[in-house]
Subunit: 330 residues, 2 copies
Amino acid sequence: MTRMINKQKDIVSQVLNGVTYIYKDRLTRIPKTGIVLKKKLVKNKVALISGGGSGHEPAHFGYIGNGMLDGTISGPVFTPPSAKEILEAIQLADQGCGTLLIIKNFEADRTNFLEAQKQAKLLGYKVDHVIVDDDCSVVSDRGEYSPRRRGVAGSVFVHKILGQAAKEGRNLEELVKLGKEVVSSLNTLGVAFSSGTDMETNEPLFNMNQHVVSFGIGIHGEQGYREEVFYSSEHLANELINKLLNQYQDDDRFAVLVNGTGSSTLMEQYIFANDVDRLLKLQQKESAFQLCGEFMTSTDMKGISLSLLSLKEEYWLDYLQADTDAFAWR
Amino acid sequence: MTRMINKQKDIVSQVLNGVTYIYKDRLTRIPKTGIVLKKKLVKNKVALISGGGSGHEPAHFGYIGNGMLDGTISGPVFTPPSAKEILEAIQLADQGCGTLLIIKNFEADRTNFLEAQKQAKLLGYKVDHVIVDDDCSVVSDRGEYSPRRRGVAGSVFVHKILGQAAKEGRNLEELVKLGKEVVSSLNTLGVAFSSGTDMETNEPLFNMNQHVVSFGIGIHGEQGYREEVFYSSEHLANELINKLLNQYQDDDRFAVLVNGTGSSTLMEQYIFANDVDRLLKLQQKESAFQLCGEFMTSTDMKGISLSLLSLKEEYWLDYLQADTDAFAWR
């Protein structure tokens, strides 16, 4: 497949230049880095920073805005940013009230973000973090399944709720506590129909058979734990909803995220969302808030993920519904 | 490629149910029709209606909102809605100040929308229309090229400017006049790297060679007028900008729309947008407003279109920048 790029080595830099051209009213890129900042940083609030490898657009820069993130750092495709750049972002975003790092639970991401946190603290900055591990996929080792708990698309609910909480004046300790509560109520499961392309090599991210759906894929081209024949959107929605609801007790009120992973058409995403709506109603579960679209992609992988957040507190819903100018939240 | 659908015959209906589930706070579907309406219609303003075949999501329902459209009608995939349903939408949306139909310039669309306008007038409704023909592709007949002037992605600028004008109290005659001015300042050219899929038959929309780019494709799988080897995003941006600027005299201030047609990654779209930004600056043209993303797709066609709107009046920019809750405008 033709890739609409220029030189290989310029991909990430030109993506960042492009997005900060389109949203020049609200985003600024720090030249020669993967750092994108809110153009007008707000004083007297905790700064919120997230980031990760490129290839997940509109994550993460799409979530910079009032009541969401203050800055993001994009690394190379599927590779987290360096501790050095994360440290620089902390220094730039800090407004005297401390900085919260929102980290997706991958070893390489944890390592670099926590190293930056350590270095920033040595320099006198107040920094803490929340680790998002919403993925309820499993990994098989000789027939034994164990949970993976990677950080995937549900992260955007964490950005929104913590972002609004920071806007309303919560301090760093309160945000860490709230973040842990939200993360523990959040589950995501993703499937793929095609592997998508590694933007740097133009090779498939992994090998997949035709007419099957792969359960539990990751966002960096990690293969799923099981392939099954694809029957219908409704059949798939039923499987995903049941696997997700198994993570809860008798929770009955949810925020729902249907996330396209790159090449699923919006038609397919809405058809799937309609199945989710009907099946949740059948199980007497309320969808109190819902999103559908491309929120965290894996380049052009054709697939979908479903996230459920149990709305344990009424104000979480208010925070999800609050206005923001983050362009990817809609 | 696996299609994430249920039964063939239910595609459009389930898409409409899905999108009105996701945006149930602001959109309502009229059951058993392709009609989607703004949930809270605003009194004492001209109603704005658009629509067309399905397969272009988020067009057109994504442009329903404050300061944009009041209703849309979705037909079968790549087939315009019937005059009967368009008439029903007029009757439902009308708030006593008349209705403006925004029609994309395809023969079948014109026929059905204008038949509905005629019937509505016989019933006593005040209705008029604007035809959008932003496409500056050409069609070749034995070596002679003639312009096609179909209605394509630039339509969303027309929805926004006329929508804001209607919100600010312009009457039907004024909107028709303004619509013609905006359309005459608007040009779009689209290219494809792959044909995309007919969602109903699961066949390619047209045949294309590998590693080429097809110029002047339509939004319903119409083939382009010329295939060329693909060199780079920058080379492509340069070609498109020059072809578009040829449509103008010395206009120097534009609104810019980079539109992904379905399967182009956001990375590729932003890389292309960055090239557009640099090349416009080189030609001393100002990009005063810009959008990038999927605004009018052709199912999963991999391609891109570029639209330029010459900002002949300063208030057009104000109208483009005005807030709206139409979910696809961002």
